[in-house]
């Protein structure tokens, strides 16, 4: 067993874990945050995508011990109190989900994209989510959702900060 300290959505989580424990199981079982879903355990479906130090990773192929001392953001950590994150709003407004199982992973993967590219084209959105599978939507409304979030987020950047860039 190994002791780890992982910051999850801003809260330090300490646990003694088996070295083989996957990060996704750490989040779901040890921390009790079940918004991160297990879809394949082989990093092919993307349902378990979280942010590790701000970058999207598939938490089924990261060991909890590899995340020791690092910061993890899950879908539960995106909304600010009652205010949904623009990506969450986008998925809601554009009907970017049906069964909702892939949604947390889709949102966090898109979060990574928008951090790197604030105004992606549809093709760039499609390219960036191609490691996240959705069986319900045919992706079109997901693309719309990410586009809508990107617009909202560019508007929310304070004018001065935007000018400074």
């Amino acid at each position: 067993m190994k002791n780890v300290t992982i910051s999850v959505n801003g809260l330090e989580q300490r646990a003694s874990v088996e070295p083989r424990l996957l990060l996704v199981h750490f989040l779901r079982e040890a921390v009790g945050l079940t918004g991160t879903h297990v879809g394949c355990e082989t990093s092919l479906c993307g349902a378990c995508t979280v942010l590790l130090d701000g970058r999207a990773v598939k938490s089924c192929t990261v060991l909890a011990v590899q995340a020791d001392g690092r910061k993890v953001t899950t879908v539960e950590g995106l909304a600010n109190r009652d205010q949904l994150h623009p990506l969450q709003e986008g998925f809601w407004e554009e009907h970017g989900l049906q069964c909702g199982f892939c949604t947390p992973g889709m949102i966090l993967c898109s979060h990574d994209l928008l951090a790197r590219n604030a105004n992606p084209s549809d093709a760039e959105i499609r390219e960036s989510i191609n490691g996240n599978l959705c069986r319900c939507t045919g992706y079109q409304h997901i693309v719309n959702a990410v586009r809508s979030a990107s617009r909202k987020m560019s508007k929310r950047v304070p004018a001065r900060a935007a000018a400074a860039r």
Binding site: V75, L97, F101, R126, C136, Q140
Partner: protein
């Protein structure tokens, strides 16, 4: 909506309109889903809960000589290991279909004495956590004696084939013939007969949430609660009570958040019997969460048919008759509806055409593979693929435009209700309208122009059409194995908030929103005041579930009818309170009004009066709750036209989808945003079959494409942007005029894409390519067509040369150089 019995078309409403139905309302389900705070089965944790994992057969066919569980039991944290001997008391996995010559093998929850497909459960390990359970699974020693395997259904019907079930002395699981009209004279009279052999390959449904089951037994209450990722909580409850020999009243099934189903959760599985049994046996809750690999191997598969199609035609393109022979791969056992699926194919084979004579024969075949069963469309995509492909092949052979050829054979709108040669009565349609609208929307003529120009430059551009009709709102009870009705309860609580209980079991379709919209309109309230409850057999009256695009047309109608009952009751009370006659009362957004004496009261006042019951008419039953079990008089038949255009790289066989246009008619629309979502997802799944997806078993019965690495699901960057439009032809079958839309996209898009690719390659002599249209397969088809053409030309040239005319031979040579 429904005045004088016949529903009128409702137009789509702008947000802000007086009516909720028809508006693009955001879903009530979504806030919990986008925040990850909803609960799918695997998210549920119970105190003292154990976890289980299954030992599954690595062989497609073998005797089980012995099972040694000793080492597995010694793994720390293991609470028990159970073998077929232990579970012998659990009833068989059910098949709900009855047919005269259907052979139904015994299907125990754990393979007993013999395994018949790779992935069949053999033993189960229960442990304190899933890691320990999986460790112990590795240590269960099963002594197998491999037996000869048959995976090819054609070979399975040969005399020397091994039997999947020895008792039957044959692998023929059932036969079914559907015939009507004078087929012999149709083919005798025909100017042309178009024949084609076509496959519908085996597919995996791949709901993103794999299956999961939790069982908890409380002996004091004698209550077994089963959480399962299912589409049919009530049917599952009934079956579990039989399998576990419990009174049905002691079993509660909950379908919590369900992460997609596509038919794969319209079933009763071994694990759904074993997990609750383990919970009872061990006196602790037990959870099982399926791995993706298990999901590929041991959750039902779809399609898998070999088809011979023959179409008899007059020179002018009039269809005279059709013959179809279908071999349907059952797999090793029947699951709940396995033998029904090819019968649905037979019913829908006439498509949206006037066909005077038909002969369809089906044979179901046992093989050493996982069972096939309902996968999105369930028999209809197979039918539509066959009829729409043969229509396109026929148009090409007759030298007719494929749109014109279809138009020629459609029934006219005034011929509806239209009785098909397969015995169905199509409710309402305007096939010409959707086709013409799609032609316009796709700029069909300019696509054809682009194709001609392209061909001249050696570019292969193709246009594919699919004019489909599907069978939805399943369905009248007479045509279904376990009742085709649906239940709906509407209860107005004392505070005026409304609870709707539906027997439908949505798992992504959004009925919490659409049912709230329809109830809100009827009661003059807002959808936010309507809470739709589903998926809990203890909360909801008996229901059938969500599948076959039935939830809105059957379940929604039940809710609508219950609302009408309630309004009648409310009018009685309002009349009493306002000094008017019940017929004089209206209930809408402006409240409760008596038209003549202009007296009115608020909705809330009326509701409260029904509960306080201090001033009620004689004989008035207090409270405001009504239930309706809606039995539809017929199926509904949505339809539409999809048009795809593709570019095919003849060097590499790669297919690029250029445009995809869909004009669908699903009757009246409750929420256009959700209907679009259903169509999009459906198209993607149908394109998956056309382009990428294929479950392959090798000769040993190993599932070669049993992971997401090997089984190619459609991804975002592979799909085009879909352009959608609609026509609205209300169904006369239900008062809301709705039809259903869950499967339309999948049904339409598969032949549409294959038609486009074959159309692109028609100048090269390519007539048909089997799905999925992987580059290798397309390239081989091109190469094969070219080499046979070259051979043909060379033979012609040689013949010409022999007759001492050298010119033609040189000409051919020059062209080939």
């Amino acid at each position: 909506m429904a005045r004088n019995g016949k529903p009128k078309p409702t137009n789509e409403k702008k947000n802000g309109s007086a009516q909720w139905v028809g508006r693009k309302l955001k879903r009530k389900e979504d806030p919990r889903l986008v925040q990850g705070i909803s609960h799918y089965t695997d998210d549920i944790k119970l105190p003292r809960m154990l976890h289980c994992a299954f030992v599954r057969s690595p062989y497609a066919h073998a005797h089980i000589r012995a099972i040694n569980t000793e080492k597995a039991r010694s793994v720390p944290g293991v609470a028990g290991v159970f073998t077929p001997e232990d579970t012998a008391g659990i009833g068989m996995i059910p098949c709900a279909i009855q047919m005269p010559d259907l052979k139904v093998p015994k299907h125990p929850v754990l393979a007993t004495g013999r395994v018949r497909y790779v992935g069949e459960p053999v033993a189960v390990v229960v442990a304190e956590n899933p890691y320990a359970a999986r460790d112990a699974v590795e240590l269960v020693e099963v002594d197998y004696e491999p037996l000869p395997v048959v995976t090819d259904m054609t070979k399975a019907l040969e005399k020397e084939s091994p039997y999947v079930h020895d008792d039957f002395r044959s692998n023929r699981a059932f036969t079914h013939v559907l015939k009507n009209g004078d087929i012999d004279s149709a083919f005798k009279k025909a100017d042309r007969v178009i024949k084609q052999r076509m496959l519908n390959q085996r597919l995996a449904p791949v709901a993103m949430e794999a299956r999961a089951v939790i069982g908890e037994y409380l002996p004091g209450e004698n209550r077994l609660t089963v959480w399962s990722s299912t589409q049919i909580p009530h049917l599952l409850r009934t079956q579990l009570s039989v399998m576990l020999a419990l009174p049905e009243t002691a079993v509660r099934v909950i379908a919590p958040e369900v992460g997609g189903g596509f038919g794969s959760k319209l079933n009763v599985y071994a694990e759904e019997g074993i997990v609750p049994w383990l919970a009872m046996k061990l006196g602790r809750p037990v959870k099982w969460a399926e791995t993706r690999r298990e999901n590929f191997a041991a959750t039902i598969h779809g399609r898998d048919t070999i088809n011979e199609v023959e179409l008899a035609l007059k020179k002018d393109g009039t269809i005279l008759g059709m013959k179809v022979g279908i071999l349907a791969d059952v797999g090793a056992y029947h699951q709940l509806l396995t033998p029904l699926i090819p019968q649905l194919t037979a019913l829908m084979l006439a498509g949206c055409y006037k066909i005077p004579a038909i002969h369809i024969s089906i044979e179901g075949v046992f093989t050493n593979k996982m069972s096939t069963d309902a996968y999105r469309g369930a028999g209809r995509p197979e039918a539509t693929y066959l009829i729409e492909r043969i229509m396109d092949i026929a148009a090409h052979e007759l030298g007719m435009d494929s749109a014109q050829f279809r138009l020629k054979n459609f029934p006219l709108p005034q011929q509806f209700p239209f009785t098909t040669i397969t015995g169905l009565t199509y409710d309402s349609a305007k096939y010409q309208e959707t086709l013409n609208k799609a032609l316009k929307l796709s700029k069909y003529d300019s696509l054809r122009q682009r194709q001609k120009t392209g061909w001249k430059q050696g570019k292969y551009y193709g246009i594919g059409l699919s004019t489909y009709v599907e069978i939805c709102a399943i369905g009248p009870s007479a045509a279904t194995p376990a009742g085709g009705w649906e239940s709906g309860t509407v209860r107005i609580e004392p505070t005026g908030k409304v609870t709707v209980l539906t027997g439908a079991s949505p798992h992504g379709q959004g009925e919490e929103t659409t049912f709230a919209q329809l109830v809100a309109d009827q009661l003059g309230i807002v959808p936010d005041d309507v809470n739709v409850v589903h998926g809990d057999t203890m909360a909801v009256p008996y229901g059938i579930g969500t599948f076959g695009s039935r939830a809105t047309a059957v379940g929604g109608t039940a809710v609508y009818m219950a609302t009408q009952k309630l309004k009648t009751k409310m009018a009685t009370l309002a009349a009493h309170l306002l000094g008017a006659k019940p017929a004089d009362i209206t209930i809408d957004r402006s409240g409760v009004t008596a038209k003549r004496n202009k007296k009115s009261m608020s909705f809330g006042e009326l509701v409260l009066a029904a509960y306080t019951a201090r001033n009620i008419p004689r004989g008035f039953e207090p409270g405001l709750e009504a239930t309706h079990f809606f039995e539809p008089s017929n199926f509904t038949f949505p339809f539409g036209t999809h048009i795809a255009s593709v570019e095919v790289d003849a060097e590499t066989g790669e297919v690029k989808i250029d445009k995809y246009v869909a004009v669908d008619d699903c009757g009246n629309v409750l929420n256009p945003l959700l209907v679009d979502g259903q169509i999009h997802g459906g198209i993607a799944q149908g394109l998956g079959q056309a382009m990428w997806e294929e479950l392959i078993y090798n000769e040993d019965g190993q599932l070669v494409t049993g992971s997401l690495m090997d089984y190619a699901l459609p991804k975002a960057h592979l799909l085009p942007e879909f352009t959608l439009e609609r026509t609205v032809t209300p169904s006369p079958v239900n008062p809301m005029g709705v039809k259903g839309v869950g499967e339309a996209g999948t049904i339409a898009s598969t032949p549409c894409l294959v038609n486009a690719v074959c159309d692109a390659l028609s100048p090269l002599g390519v007539r048909h390519i089997e799905m999925p249209l992987k580059p290798e397969r397309v390239w081989r088809a091109i190469t094969h067509a070219q080499s046979s053409r070259d051979q043909h030309e060379a033979a012609m040239a040689a013949a010409v040369a022999k007759s001492s005319n050298g010119k033609a031979g040189r000409k051919t040579d020059r062209r080939r150089a």
